[in-house]
C-alpha cells in the first residue's frame, strides 16, 4: 500500500518539476525564473525524502538540509543581483 503511494508521489513530483520548468523557459522576466528554480529545488528536496523511504536508507537525510540551505543562498544571491547589479558590495572610501 505505502510503496505504491510513494511511487505515485514521485510521479507527481516529476509532473510538478515539469510544470515549473515550463515557467523557467517561458517566464517573461528574470525573477520569474528565479522563483521557479527555487520551487524546483524544493521539489527535489522532498523527492529525496521520499526516495530515502523507498530505498529504506538513512544515508540521504543530510542531503535534505544541505539542499535547503543551498536553495536559500541561491535565491538571496539572485535577488541581490536583480536589485543592485552586484552581489557582494565593496565599501567605498570617498
Amino acid at each position: 500500500m505505502i510503496d505504491k503511494l510513494l511511487l505515485v508521489a514521485l510521479a507527481l513530483f516529476s509532473i510538478s518539476i515539469a510544470l515549473s520548468l515550463y515557467r523557467v523557459i517561458r517566464g517573461p522576466s528574470m525573477p520569474d525564473r528565479a522563483i521557479a528554480l527555487d520551487t524546483i529545488g524544493v521539489n527535489l528536496l522532498s523527492s529525496i525524502a521520499i526516495v530515502s523511504i523507498v530505498l529504506k536508507t538513512k544515508a540521504y537525510l543530510e542531503a535534505i538540509l544541505i539542499l535547503g540551505i543551498l536553495a536559500f543562498i541561491g535565491t538571496i544571491a539572485f535577488s541581490k543581483y536583480i536589485e543592485r547589479g552586484v552581489i557582494v558590495e565593496r565599501k567605498s572610501n570617498d
Binding site: A9, A34, V42, S46, I82
Partner: protein, 122 residues
C-alpha cells in the same frame, strides 16, 4: 499500531504532495510575478514541511531511528521559505517589474519614491 502509524504517515505525505502539485499549477496559471511568488513561497513551504514530518514519523515510529536533522530541515524551511519569497518580490519591484493590469492599489510605489528622494538617489 502498525496500521495506525502507516495511516498517519500516508496522511501527511498525501497532504504534502497535494500542496506541491497546487504550487506547480499556480506557477503556470497565475498572471504576474507577485501572485506567482505568493503561490510558490506559501504553499510550497507548507507542502515540504508536511512531507518532511511524514518522513520523520516514518523513520521514528517504524524503523525506530530518531533523526534530528529532519527536524532542523523543517525549522530551516519554515524560516527561510517566506523570507526568500519576500526578498525576491521586493527586489523585482525595485528593478521595475510591473504588477498585473487589474491591480487596484499600489502602496509601495509612493513609499519607494519618498525613500529615494530622502536619500538623494536617482
Amino acid at each position: 499500531m502498525m496500521i495506525l502509524t502507516n495511516s498517519v504517515v500516508i496522511l501527511f505525505i498525501t497532504i504534502g504532495v497535494i500542496f506541491i502539485v497546487v504550487t506547480a499549477i499556480g506557477l503556470v496559471r497565475l498572471p504576474d510575478l507577485y501572485t506567482r511568488a505568493h503561490a510558490a513561497s506559501k504553499s510550497a513551504t507548507l507542502g515540504v514541511m508536511c512531507i518532511l514530518i511524514g518522513v520523520f514519523l516514518h523513520f521514528w515510529l517504524i524503523e525506530d531511528h530518531f533523526n534530528p536533522r529532519i527536524l532542523l530541515g523543517i525549522l530551516f524551511l519554515f524560516i527561510t521559505g517566506p523570507v526568500g519569497g519576500h526578498i525576491m518580490t521586493r527586489s523585482s519591484y525595485i528593478a521595475g517589474v510591473k504588477p498585473w493590469k487589474g491591480t487596484v492599489r499600489d502602496d509601495l510605489g509612493p513609499e519607494i519614491e519618498r525613500m529615494k528622494k530622502e536619500q538623494g538617489i536617482q
